[in-house]
Structure formats: structure tokens, C-alpha cells
Amino acid sequence: MSDQRAAARPSPKVSDEIRQTTCYMCACRCGINVHLDGGKVRYIEGNRDHPVNRGVLCAKGSAGIMQHYSPARLRAPLKRVGPRGSGQFEEIGWDEALSIAAGWLAPLRETAPEKLAFFTGRDQSQSFTGWWAQAFGTPNYAAHGGFCSVNMAAAGIYTMGGAFWEFGQPDWERTKLCMIFGVAEDHDSNPIKIGLGQLKARGGRVIGVNPVRTGYNAIADDWVGITPGTDGLFILSLIHELLCAGKVDLDYLCRYTNAGFLVHDGDGAGRGLFLRGDDGKPLVIDRATGKPAPYDAPGVKPALTQTLRQAGVSYRPVFQLLAETYMDAQYAPEAVAGRCGIPAARIRSIAAELARVAFDEEIVLNRPWTDWKGERHQTMIGRPVSFHAMRGISAHSNGFQTARALHVLQIVLGSVETPGGFRFKPPYPKPPEAHPRPHAGATPGQPLDGPHLGYPLGPEHLLLDPQGQPKRIDKAFSWENPLSAHGLMHMVIANAHAGDPYRIDTLFLYMANMAWNSSMNTAQVIDMLTDTDESGEYVIPRIIYSDAYSSEMVAYADLILPDTTYLERHDCISLLDRPICEADAAADAIRWPVVEPDRDVKGFQSALIELGVRLGLPGFVDAKGDAVYEDYADYIVNHQRRPGVGPLAGWRGDGTGAGRGAPNPEQLQRYIDNGGFWISHIPEEAQFFKPWNAAYQGWAVERGIFDAPQPYVFNLWLEPLARFQRAAEGHGDRQPPDHLRDRIKRCFTPLPSWYPPFEGETVDLADFPLHAITQRPMHMYHSWGSQNAWLRQITNVNKLFVPGDIWEAQGFAEGDWAYLTSHHGRIKVPVARMDAVNGQTLWTWNAIGKKRGAWALSENAPEATDGFLLNHLIAELLPPKGDGLRWANSDPITGQAAWFDLRVRIERATTRGPSEPRLPAQKSPVGQGPDRLTYGDDFT
């Protein structure tokens, strides 16, 4: 026998070279060290210097090798040769592919640009894809935020100029109590894990609010197994308790919020709007003089309790209205306990714990700073309670108001942008007024009249034609969902199929699995994609799709533009978009081809540039018609959105420019030399109180984050909502359709309110007594992760988890299957028992189920035989109410898809799998993966 014992202190070579880039195994954007050996990827680890992950790397990131070498990678552009859905394609060259695309799109641009609908899924280049769509001139562009978490984003921006997602973070270094709502794995994946670990190591506490106790909620010191859709009610009850005890930060409310703004409390068109001075500035009553004064005048201290009578109208401070609203008995713990599934005593205890930590464990930093009114403060006072929330509260039809309620809770505790609380990351804070308004002015042959997406401040900003019909195919910014700041990607296929509000010609999608797990009502969406008219033509005539992998959606497109893997591409994680900033720093990052593609594929953004050149789009060609940018890398370096401000902030001009400066041809190399990212730290005195901190505002202007200081106060009272309510009451020129008036009056309350999720109000709860939701597993991201050879060994079947009482009542046994039925459909699924869950809630892992033939998996892969999607049970529309109308299954304010409103019943199935519905297989354009892997053989 040969002796192969390890040396005493073995010191083998690790790799030939380390190249540092940015991970894309999820949306977290961690820095990675990619070890190359003989030109192949040998090992991927976290980059210790990187601000996002500081060296750590999750399971997804660590499985990047299997994603990069996945057998499901597309190899060349594809032209469909069989019927849609069959998966029959012919490989073609790029010239032919781009000629086909340009041949379809050029006539549309010249005649009816709105007939192109361009929507992107996992897009981290929205500032670029949006710019392309604007140059094309179609109003029909958005990314996927409408079905993702727009409630969270919009509520955050409208309320406090910044949201959760990855746009802010708890002050992990200082917080003592962190409360998370509806958080499973999501954006900000590794920072949350790092932060919770740090917090616990310091002895801090975590309260997890989630119907399901897994992941972060499993390690929470206190778990609140709330009933889905009732978080808003619970939060307002916490606010009730805090108000009754006087545990609110009055100084903070006076200085940094609109608590003192005077609200018209009479009748008529002005009701709910602020009293304003001649210059349009809202007025408060100055406590020193007892007289109205502009809220932002130096020295003015707003009163919170006095009422002003003027011209026969009472004007009352926001705080007075807030106290009256939430001290009402309807928000007492006893009144909400049953609906929330939380005993009243626990609500009281949690309110008391929040108050104790916020006020009795106050943090004082000896850091002098100057506020926007010129007042010097010797210290920074902190309230060390922090919050984070994500789609658990967002994906409901009451999600916008629920997220707003949570922000109001944070604000009354004085814990936003203060030490120990929640902190914004640049480019936030940025109030709604500093964002654009939405645009949909399309003219044949011309660019759109402005950016597609934005933040309406009243009915005047809706995108309606003279007949009052929506201008956009997804009906974003219409009366059905006025504040749909991210568009409504989940409505595009259904609306395009129905020709409502009009028909389109070409549907162009990027990295969005809309024929599968990213659509509600999957089976019928597939029917819409394949439906033909009387003449035998597809109802949606043309579909172009770009993906790196053989996903379900590939089979439903006519033309495929194959994307690269994340290790083969240029990207910028830009301050114009969704950067990698920290609360203490502005930062951005790149991806670059650390390995070259071995297939005939192109980074999608480069393909889009070539297409833009072929179409002669402004900005893409010069006066002679020549290409302005050779490819995306060229764009990243040389594009200027405003003079001196481009996609990347680092090393501009002669290499010393930070945020501002002329394009620097060496810029990408400087990023590569620095590990793939750039970071600029915020000066100490500017690190907290950012919306009101003169030093921060000045620093942000220097860095090109904005062009002039833009201090503002937080919106406890959201005046734009009052404007929509007044319109619904008949005031103003722009009027909603009659059938929407009551809903707008009810839901658009300027102070956050709670109403039951719509689906539960519409269906018979005796028929559909249970809730059903999904959670994202920590080791997978959408459908991209579950094809991965290593990750699918961790989870390749998603069972439906059933609470113990229901399990026993139904007589389930291990290995059983069940039928799960909603108002919309019935699916057959494998079940498993779980007790650490809300007793009325069934749940499963997100996006494990696969269609047979997709992702280069075998047709008998468990993902396809036993795995399933809840999506089949969820419709874009609510069941008919008998009023002759069909109502969207969305938040009425933002249009966010209400995935988690789903109501179901469960029955034991007498037979086992396969899961149902069982859709026909699609042919794989890339064959099937190998039957054995010994990755690492090459390196020994």
C-alpha cells in the first residue's frame, strides 16, 4: 500500500491567480476572490476587504463553480423552430439574431413605440436598461419590483426617503435590540447574517416576526408567529401602547418629522392637506410665538398640540391627529390579539421592551454636528432599537400601509438615522420630491419624454390618456395603483394577451422566469404565451428573451439572446442604480470577465448596446450613425448621465475624482486593482442624522450623489395620499372611475391604517380557512439556484409544511400527499409536519419546483416530479365579487403583487405523486447534465 499521509504541515499551492469580482449568485453583491488554476475556476471565497461581506460567503456564493460550469448554460443565440413551449430551437449567429431583433423593433419605433414591452427581471443595470428603453421611446419598461417588493421600497421612500431592502441597515455595531418582520433569506443576505451574529455575540436581542420559524427567526430570541397579513395591525398596536405611555421621542418628532405640520381638518378639497405659506412651504405653530411659521425656519420649534383656526377652518398638527387615531381602542392589544394570533400580553411586553431599550438604554456619541438649520449639536443621541423587514409584510394587498406603519413605529421611537437604530446607505436618504415623476409620453421615432418610473405626488402625475385610460401596458400609475413606482411586471403578459389597455407586438424580457416561478397563475400564463388568434398567429406576436440558462421561459420565446455567466461579464453595481454602499460610506463595484466565455454568448447589456446601434437610438449612435459605445464596458467608463457623473464613481478624471470627474480610460483597471470595488467613507460628523446633517448634505453633493443639498423631514402624514382621497371624493379635474372611489377613500389614508388582505375579504373563509405562503431558502436564489449540482443536493423537493393541529385533524402520515385548493386552482403536493409555524399557515420553499425538460435536469428530477409551485393557486385577479368587475390581486396603492394574501384549504390525497398540475415537458436546447461529477480532478 502506498503511504499518502499528509505532511506534518502541508503547504500546497492554492491557485495560479486570484481575480476579484462581484458575486451574482443572489442580489447581495458580495466581493469574491476567484481562484484560477490552469484557466479554470478552482475555488471562490469572500473578499475580506469588501464592504458588503467582509470575507464571508454564503452557500450560494460558494456554489458559484457549479453555476458557472452548469450544463444548463445556453451556448448560442436561438431561433424558435417548433411551436412555443416545445423547446425546439435552432442555433444561429449573433449577426442573424440581432438582425431579426432589429427587424422586428425598428418598424415599431417608427410607428408605435409602445408596442414594445421591455421588462427585466434579475436586473442590476436598471439605470442602463431604462435608458435604452427611454431612447427607444416605449413607455412600457420596468424591472420586476412590482411583483417583488415595491411596497417596501415605495413606503420607505414616501415615508422617510429610504427603504429597507439593501438600501439601509441596522446600526449593527451599536444596536441592542433588532426586530425583523417578514424576513427570510433576501437582499442583504450576508450583511444580515454578519449583523445578527455580531449583535448576539454582544448579548443583544433579536425579535423575529414571521409566521414561519426558520433561518433568522429560528435564532431569534423571541419569535412572534404572526398570522399572515396582520403585521400592520400588530405594529399599530405597538404604537398605541407607546403613545399611551408617552414613550415617543418628542424632540426627534419636532425636529425631523412633519409631526408639527398643520393639517386642514375641515371639509372640501383642502381636507388632509397642509397649511402652506405664500412660498408654498408647510407651516407649523412656533411654540415660542404661538404663531404660524415655516417649518424649516431657523429657531422655529413646532407645537404638537395646538389647533389653529383660520378662515373658518381648523388646522391641527399631524401629531394630534396621529395620537387620536392610534390611541383609539381599536388598536388596543386586546382588540387586535385574535386577528394577529398574538396574545395581548405579548404585544404589551414587546412594546415595553422597545421603549426600555430605546429610551433607558439611550446611546450618546460625543460627535458634534450641525443641522440643516445651522444649529450646532454637541452630541448624537441614539435609540438602539433597529428594525428590518422584507416581503413577508410587503407581498400583501395592505403591504404599503403596513410598511408605512413600521416606519412610523421606527420614527416615533426616534430610531431612524440615529446611533443604534436604522441607517440609510447612500444614495439614500432621498425624499420622494427628489425622485423623478413617471413619464409615458411616446412619439414615433423619438425618445420617451422622460424617465419611465418615479414617485407621483398627486393625481396630476398619473399616466393617463385624455380618455382616462392607462398609458402603460401594465397600467402602472393609473387609478388602479397610482404609486406603482416599480411598474407591474406581473400584469404585462395578462394585459398584453387581453389587449387591455391595448395590444403589443413584441415582448422583450431579460432574466425573468415569467413562464414559471415569477408569474402568478403560471399554467394560464403559459396558455397566454402560446395562445393564437383566428389567423393562427400568436396573440402576443413576438417574444425576445435573454437568459444565461435553459430556464422555463426560454421555451416560450421566439428569439433567445444568450447571456454570459456572472464570471464572464462586465457589470457595474452603480450609484445610479443599486450600489453596494454602507451606512458609513459610498461604494460601488464592478464585475469583469475573470474567465472568458467558451460559448457564443454575450453579456446582455453589450447585446442591448449593439441592438441600440442597429436601431440608431439616440445616445447609442453619433451624428454619423456610428456606435458611441463599443460594448457595455465602454459604456460603463464613458457614459455620463450628468456632466462628470457616470455609472462608476471611483477614480474619475485623472484618477483622483471621487463621484465627479471626466471619464477615465483607466477606470476599470483601477477597480480591478482595488479588488473590484471603490469606497469613499463619510466623514464622522456626517454619519448620522443624514437627512438633516449639513455635513452629510455637503459631502453627498461633492460625491455627485445629488447636485444641491436636499434636507427634508419624514412624512408621518403622507400628503399625496390625501390628494388621492380628495380626488376620490370628487375634488379636482382628474377623477378616478366610480368603481374605484370607495377603495381609494378607504385605503389611501394619510396616516397608515390596516385593512384585511383583499383575497381573504373576497373568498368564503369557511371554504378557504388557511393561509399559504413561501419562504426563500438561504441556499438558493429563485430558480437559478435549484439547478445547481451542489445546492440541489441540499434541497430538491419542496414539501408543503403543515402545522401539527391541521396535520392531526387531517390524519396525515409521513410520506403523504395532499390537494391544496384556492379560489383559483388546485394542486397536488407532498406534505410534511411542522410545529414551529403559525397554526393557520401552510408554507413551502420558494421556486424549487421545475418544469420537466428545463435547466438541463432529467425529466424525472425530483424538482419536476415532486416539487411544486404555489403560483398555480394565485391569480392576477381576485375572484368575481358580483359587481361585474375584476379586481387586481395587488396592493391598491402600489400595485404590488399580493402573493401572500393566498387563502386555501387542504385535503389528504389518497394517492401519492407526481405533483399536479403536470405540464408537458419541454425539449432541452442544451441536452442534459452528466451523470457523474468529480470536480477538482483537473487540479490534482
Binding site: 426558520t214 429560528a218 405611555a245 398640540t305 438561504m778 490534482t940
Partner: protein, 242 residues
């Protein structure tokens, strides 16, 4: 039968904090990607894109649901790899001498040249911490990343097992349990670190830190007012004091 050293100069091992492990599987996958091209044969995968994918992993996370006597059911994430036992039954059962425990640092390793893949060690291990690689036909197990921890080609700060370096929650710690002042010894002392299945008499080197007690902090706020008017009066007084 193979002998164990009477004593080892160091006792290298892991402390795993069950209070902070969120069950994310980062350690599982990073271990796999490091070790598949690391010490010994690759960690192979059978049927990786098919009906029954399975492969060799040196570290796995199991998630358990626990119903305490009172309170809600809890979920514990439990990472498990070789515990490098002082009285390692996998070593003493080995008929060829392939399994051995190192005198210098206590790491339990397999000499793949001597391993005939009989699997006795896996049967003897009460923790199920060894896996027979089906492609190579040899037994695979955690090496504590022996090709990292002494590796001069790796920055000093990174000379820790891959699972420790990658763990996002900071739930894994590496050190020498023979040194009472080491980070791991201090953690075990401070947090009541435990042996896994001590009744087996294996004297595992790795230790687990138990989850802290969970539950609400019972408390109640004292009302200053029952209705808005009372609160507003209270606020007037409070604002006057500001």
C-alpha cells in the same frame, strides 16, 4: 486495528455556536468547493442532474424541530462534521491503519493510499461524520482543512478551515483546545460548551455552544394617558421641559 496516540501536542478543533447558526449551509458548500480540489480524491457527485443526486460532503447541516415543555416549537440548525475525537472509534476499528489521529495536532485523517473503502470506520463513528466517496472508493472526512491551516501560500488570517472562514453568522470558531487561553477554550468556558453524545465515550474535541433560552421579556408600560386629550396635555408639559 489501529492505535491512537496517548496524547497529542495540540487539540485542534471547532466550536460551533448553535445560538447563532441560521442554517444557511455556507459552511457545507464552501467545504465542498475547497476540499473537492484539496487533500486527497475529489468529493464526487453521482447523478448530479438526475432523479437522485447524491455526493460526498465532509460537513452537513441538519435542521431539527424541538418542542420545549412550554412555549413554541423551536428550530435548531445543527452543523455536523468529524469531531476529531480523542478516543476515536473510527481509528481503532480501521483494519489497515489508514485512519489515524495525528500526534502533533490531534487531527483525524485518512491515508487514502491505505484505505480499501471497507466502511468499518463509518459504521464505528457514532456521529455519521464519514462518507465513502463512490467514485474514488475511499473514505472521506473533515481534515480541518489541513491544507489551509499550515499553508504558507495563504495569508495568515485565512489559515483556518474553509467553513470557519466563510461562516456569515460567525457561528464557527477554530483553535487549540489544549490551550486553556485559546479563543475556543474561552468560548467553551463562557458559554457552557458541550460534547456531542458524551455517553459514547469518544471524547470529541469539537464542542457545541447551546442556544440561549428564548422567550419574551415580560413587562408592561405605565400609561400616562388613556385618551388623546390626556396625552396631549402630558406632551405640553414634556415639551415645556425640552
Amino acid at each position: 486495528m489501529t492505535g491512537l496516540p496517548d496524547r497529542t501536542e495540540a487539540k485542534l478543533g471547532l466550536v460551533i455556536d448553535l445560538d447563532t447558526c441560521v442554517g444557511c449551509h455556507a459552511c457545507v458548500v464552501n467545504c465542498k468547493e475547497w476540499n473537492t480540489s484539496g487533500h486527497g480524491a475529489p468529493l464526487s457527485d453521482q447523478d448530479p442532474y438526475g432523479a437522485d443526486p447524491s455526493g460526498t460532503f465532509l460537513n452537513r447541516v441538519h435542521s431539527f424541530e424541538v418542542q420545549p415543555e412550554s412555549g413554541c416549537a423551536q428550530v435548531t440548525h445543527f452543523p455536523k462534521s468529524c469531531l476529531h475525537c480523542e478516543d476515536a472509534p473510527c481509528v481503532t476499528v480501521c483494519p489497515t491503519g489508514a485512519s489515524y489521529k495525528r500526534t502533533e495536532d490531534g487531527i483525524v485523517l485518512v491515508d487514502e493510499g491505505d484505505c480499501m473503502g471497507c466502511g468499518l470506520c463509518a459504521w464505528a463513528c457514532p456521529y455519521g461524520a464519514r462518507e465513502l466517496d463512490l467514485a474514488a472508493g475511499v473514505m472521506k472526512k473533515c481534515t480541518l482543512c489541513i491544507d489551509r491551516i499550515y499553508n504558507d501560500n495563504i495569508p495568515e488570517v485565512d489559515r483556518v478551515p474553509a467553513c470557519v472562514r466563510t461562516c456569515p453568522a460567525g457561528a464557527r470558531h477554530f483553535g487549540d483546545f489544549a490551550d486553556p487561553e485559546s479563543n475556543v477554550s474561552r468560548l467553551v468556558a463562557a458559554r457552557g460548551g458541550m460534547d456531542l453524545m458524551p455517553e459514547q465515550g469518544t471524547r470529541p474535541v469539537n464542542k457545541y455552544l447551546p442556544p440561549r433560552l428564548k422567550g419574551s421579556v415580560e413587562a408592561q408600560l405605565e400609561p400616562v394617558a388613556e385618551e388623546p386629550k390626556g396625552l396631549l396635555a402630558w406632551i405640553d408639559r414634556a415639551l415645556g421641559a425640552l
